[in-house]
Amino acid sequence: MPGSQGGSVTLRGIVGLLAAAVPKIALPKIALPAIALLAIALPGAGFAGSFLEPAGPIAAGQLSHFGVISMLMLIVIVPMFVALPIVLYRYRRGGKGTYRPDWEFNWGLELLIWGVPVALVVALGTALWRQTIVGDPYRALGPDPLVVEVVALDWKFLFLYPEQGVATLDLLALPEGRPITLKLTSGTVMQSFIIPRLAGQIYAMAGMQTQLNLLADETGDFTGRNTQYNGLGFATQSFTTRVMSADDFEGWVATAKTQQAGLDAAAYARLLPPAVVNEPVIYARFTPGLFDQIIASFAPGMAGGHAGHGPQAGADTPAAITAPATSHQQHDHTPEAAQ
């Protein structure tokens, strides 16, 4: 498995064993159609570009995990819905049940009501652990990912493509089938970035960097947005994720390079005042290292001390980012980690 956790092999072994013991393999297969059926049966149930209609392995994993957990939980839910009406009927005042005002304990029942939830939590916990590791947003989904740097602004997102040298505002163009690594930061307050059909949320915070790995296995336009309230324009802070075939993506990049506008520090500064962007903007080029400069701008004193330490973002090659074994060092939020 890529991105293996150094030192926790034993733990994972145990967890893996436990997981194998849990008869949960068949569940996603039941759960998915169940949810889908439910959805279709309900009025007006457009999925509205949500994770109920996943377009990539990460969102699909999240949906099926949702199904697994829901099904497992029925083990404690259903008995209540069955037993309560019976008890109420039998033991209502005037009912047939025998009145035992002093009855207060029974070991068998006690073991049952503690034992079943404990066993259930073991099963749930195992499923949780496995899904959390597999679905770790920091885990690269394959070699040679396309790196896109994301800057959350008020009330728009800026996307920088270091490999291609182009940038966009409120439009995330992606190739189908190629692993994507999004590196996120914020030029303003904290935001939460999501493209529901592809992957779940991750926060973008000023002066820090977070990561979201995803992969699209369908082409099309998917909505992405910020989910963390950040003022008046929050409601409309969404963007289009346009997934295209690899060739179309090359074509898109080529067209992007023919655009007039470029993004330098001054142009970036003009993006900072809060505003909603109605039409996506495409920049033919941007100042290399802009992403790291944005991060560093929030901690001038600190970044200064490290300025000479290594290549800046301009030198960010995909290879430098994918080294999966070190992924957990990259969880570090300090500005230094951005280098």
Binding site: P101, T132, G135, Q201, I202, A206
Partner: protein, 709 residues
Amino acid sequence: MNWELIFGQIKWTSFVFAGMIENPSLSEAIASGAGSIAVLGALATVILLTVKGWWVPLWRDWLTSVDHKKVGIMYIAIALVMFARAVIEAALMRAQQLSATDGGGFLSADHFGQLFSTHGTIMIFFVAMPFITGLMNYVMPLQIGARDVSFPLLNAISLMLTMAGAIVIMVSLVVGQFSTGGWSAYPPFTGIEFSPGEGVDYWIWAVSLGSIGSTLTGLNFAVTIYKKRCPGMTLFRMPLFTWTTLCTSILMIFAMAPLTAATVMLALDRYAGFHFFTNGDGGNMMNYANLFWLFGHPEVYILILPAFGVWSEVVATFSSKRIYGYTSLVYATMCIAVLSFAVWLHHFFTMGQSANVNAIFGIATMIIGVPTGVKVYDWLLTMVGGRIRFSTAMLYHINFLLTFILGGMTGVLLANPGVDFQVHNTLFLVAHFHNMIIPGVLFGMFAAVQFWFPKVFGFRLHEGLGRASFWCFAPGFLLAFFPLYWLGMMGATRRTYMWSNPDYLPWLALAMLGAVLILAGFALMVTQIVVSVRQRAQLAAPLGDPWDGRALEWSIPSPPPAWNFAVLPQVTSQDPFYEAKKAGTAYRSPASYEDIEVPRNTATAPLIGLFACAWAFGLVWHIWWLVIVSFVLIWAVVIARSFATDTEETVPAATVKAANEAFLAAARAAPGVTRDQEMTSANRGRAIPEALEGRSGTIASGAPVEALS
């Protein structure tokens, strides 16, 4: 004289009505309307008090009282008034979201931001907290056979600080704006750079006052339970409500501190240019998230545990049966209390920490589900072998069991980082926490009102109207929140004043209908109280035991005398009063009476509350002279009080004896009523224990349980 020196940053435009005059719109009109209601409400209260000549009794009998019972009633009064405001705000938000597909709607984005922030802040800090605190205040000392809490004056001060916080938040309706940062007020959005102005300051100081009040309450109650139990009341004989009060108090002591720290640090950022949570210069908002949720998660258990206590009392009483698995329930409660400090990170799985950290906190969260599940099934088993009466309180309990367990299921879902990544910050989350808080805490408190009202005021509440209100509230809740699960899964974000997705509309319409039902339920509840006051003669139950109760509070008159117990009771078992009734030893005259010391009324607490309110207001508006003067006055009052020596008065034994013997004689003379007559005017509060009645079925105490079905 310089305007700013006197009035700080208040300007004419700060008043809510200025917005209406300067740029009239429906949104502004609603803001002005709310402001007017606040002003007119205050004015109407003043006029009423003046006309009726109630100022003196209000001051003498209530505000200066340190009696835990009156303090408790005042807490609950605050909760109900604040609930009225916050629930109307909720309905406004619902209406806005329904009417606002693709723009439109009638509220501005900013007004909507203030609404969800005040709604959340008020519901948590000034509805749920005062409600549980008031209830614990009233009931816990009675259940442990005590005459008051350990520190009665401190108790009154906690109340007045909470009241000061509530007033500050009400003032924000009229003067200035409130924060748009939500109830959690995450920086850097709430920092001075992104939220200049007074809004966040209102949030900071209102919440700080409330949280200091709650810290003091926690200390007070924990000490009371440790030190003031009557003879024989060992820990494992305490009623379950008292147990949950103890756990909640301990949580309050430890959990409120991080909140106070967080609000004070945020204040330092905003007022003094510190950089705890700012974007640059070494600030880091992640510290705030950790501090806030280090409070925030235990907080939800602070709220739910007392409600669990209520459910235990209600289900045992209305099943006329011992609670099933008492010990198990106690340990489950303790487990929950301890574990609640180990899961806070589940509120920000999305912050980018490693998968291992997320998994550990996710599993810890699921583990809390175990003791909670146990409790739910304990309540179910309590009914087994009982004789269940479907009173209003019991209806709430049944509704609780069914809905709470569903909320638990979605809680377990949210404990999975992979699921949370998708539904965090969506209406799914909003549905989940309302699903826990409304059927669990809020309805728990409503059930408590139905249950203990006759104890507090000496007459029962009108049962028919109680049921009517239940039948609005319960389906209202389902309609208002279950569609939100689905909306959240479809991607509808929280705190959003409009979406452009027409698919959301039918669900939003259902939710609106639910909100309307909830409002109707509340209106019926108010009606129920008014009608019951009018019919108090028919509903009177002065003999103290209208429900065939089990714990000590039912053994004394309703309403209880200032000293609670004429003679401190001797306890030899659980459910002491029920056992005494069965053994025929209830209502016996004690051998002798003694003088009783009760604390004198004092103006200390209301003065501290008043100055704390002025202090907070001064801070919000940067009126520095007011800040300094009121701060000095607060401490002047404290110091002055520390010189007072004559703080207690003595109730002579003869007075106690006369009152108590009269009560006992009346109780002994009264014909006991069976449970059939419970809801009739024959029920004066003297119960024939169900276990002695032998009406249907045979009494087979201690026999093994028969299998279900």
